[in-house]
Amino acid sequence: MNKLLNIARSAFLWVDDRLHIAKLYESTAGHHVPQSSGSWFYVFGSATLLCFMIQLATGIMLAMVYVPSAAEAYTTLEYLTFQQELGWFLRAVHFWGSNFMVGIMLLHMTQVFLFGAYKYPREITWITGVILMVLTLGLAFTGQVMRFDEDAYWGLGIGAAIMGRVPFVGEQMVNMMLGGPIIASETLSRFFALHVFVLPGGVLAIVSIHLRMVLTKGINEYPQPGMLVRRETYDKEYAAILKKEGVPFFPKAISKDLVAASIVIFGILACAILFGPEGPSGPADPVQINTLPRPDFFFLWIFAIAALMPDWIETPALLGGPVIIGIILFALPFFNGTGEKSWRRRPVAVITVILTYVSLGLLTYLGHTSPWSPDMDAWKSAETPLEFVEGRSPLELQGLLVIQSMQCRNCHAIDGIGGHRGPDLADVGSRLTKAQLIRQVIQGGGNMPAYGKNLTPDQVEAVVAYMVSLRPQGVPPARDSSQPGQAPME
């Protein structure tokens, strides 16, 4: 036994003499970290990197079958999903891997922000992290283009429409993005090159700087409230921490990272097997216009913002918003580079995080339900509950028919059934007087088209008669407050 060990030892020494593995270990995996950093809060960075590795592996395999040609991409995607051995599985892992990567990256960023890890001397760690976030979101967006289905096509259209708003060089920017004046084969080839070469290469390059910084400036110690960062003293303090409680990252501080890594992989596998791959939806055929273009989950909040912004702010916000956010994120370690690290004594940081998550969450929910989109088929398929038909006069029933056939239901629900662009009509008779209803129908306004030209006076009469009758039982019709003496008109 001892002899065997001796042989193994001398074999290792022989290899080490040539490859310097021990030295490599000391300066990388074995570098000393504060014991306090071996915390569950510190697992998100390595988990994000793990997701990226999974994306690289599955992406390379998908690229062995996928054909990045506008004429064939969709067909090969269907082939991958339905015929290629385990193709559905690889697609599903790649799709869920991307969702996990974006999600865990956001958690990592949040943790780093709340723990003040971006402060002196880790400015470049933070800045490279911000660049990695941009690259990751770029990978997510170009990835949904790879599906080259209808959502991909119209998503490109939305991108081009935003580029077209750039002042002076809008047309040129559109051409740069699409590889020509129109969405076509060169657009897909361009996005393919970005998705598989440029952006992953960028991630590898920036990740190496990001990790280099972890080695040169050390991982952030677990912040203690009241321990202030000063440029003059921090380096000495950190060296003292390492001396007092420093442990080699491997094997003393990596255990939680390893557990988290397996949870991430199990999570991706579970989602992949339970929910399968995303899409493809219908083919990218622009003539098929019966489509409801929606971006992937992580861009729904932008989709929602685009619907909810006031008109006048739209172009500056779409073009300037990302720039301003970028400048703030880049500048953060410079205008807030010292002082308190612990989130327990940084209420502004905590409020910023809460507000950001609440806003993103609400916007994503709104983007998912998109109440501002007309329900394009409501006029054909939305039913009218019996209580809104019963006991109505022939004129009122005629009005209901007009409401149905004139697509009013696409935007107006009756008792929740129909579109939600405009107000629900179920109680409109108790909110607007007959005169107000006539004006609203004929002139529109407040985001409603004017129907004056498209309805005959008889139709308007019937529609308004029906709407006056729409009010909860026992509630009188709306009255004109400027004429309090007048009896309500039925």
Partner: protein
């Protein structure tokens, strides 16, 4: 060779040694070579930026297929079509024949963010499925976030055939559409 470590600044104040001279030649040659590779590379990538967009006359077929007073769906083939474009070379549009040779041809793309607008004959409205934009029969802005009315193609009628000037993705930057 010499066992002593090299001292690059050996020649302080003296004329540059042959080695220094070679170093600068090396830098210089590679700068030239780099430019000779880099400039065409940039030109290749940026060609899309500088290429002007050629608009061409495209036939939408005989005018008879468009009834007067109606708005009909039509599509045409992208004049810049390539073999491997697939379905993406079929571009849709809405043709409104007002009367006789009086036409309006609208781009399918909503002026807000480019989603495909749908025509509703009964209410005489175009509605967008993305953010709730709506347009009147004549393309005018009716409701929602779009900043202007629908894009209209320049058109002409020759020998009973309807032509439009197209070939670019309509967006806010090309005002000639």
């Amino acid at each position: 060779m010499n066992d002593e470590p090299c001292k690059p600044c050996d020649c302080e104040g003296k004329k540059p040694s042959r080695r220094d001279f070679l170093l600068w030649i090396g830098f210089g040659l590679n700068a030239v070579a780099g430019a000779m590779i880099g400039i065409p590379l940039l030109g290749y990538v940026l060609s899309a930026f500088f290429k002007p967009n050629p608009l061409t006359w495209i036939s939408l077929g005989p005018v008879d297929q468009f009834p007067e007073g109606k708005t009909r769906f039509a599509s045409y083939e992208n004049p810049l079509r390539r073999e491997w474009d697939g379905d993406t070379s079929n571009i849709p549009c809405w043709v409104r024949r007002i009367k006789g040779n009086d036409f309006q041809v609208f781009a399918i793309n909503c002026t807000h963010l480019g989603c495909p607008v749908r025509w509703f004959e009964e209410s005489r409205l175009f509605m967008c499925p993305c953010h709730g934009g709506a347009f009147y029969e004549d393309g005018g802005h009716a409701a929602g976030p779009p900043p202007r009315g629908l894009y209209t193609y320049e058109l002409k009628v020759e020998n009973g055939t309807l032509f439009i000037k197209g070939g670019v993705l309509p967006n806010l930057s090309n005002q000639n559409i």
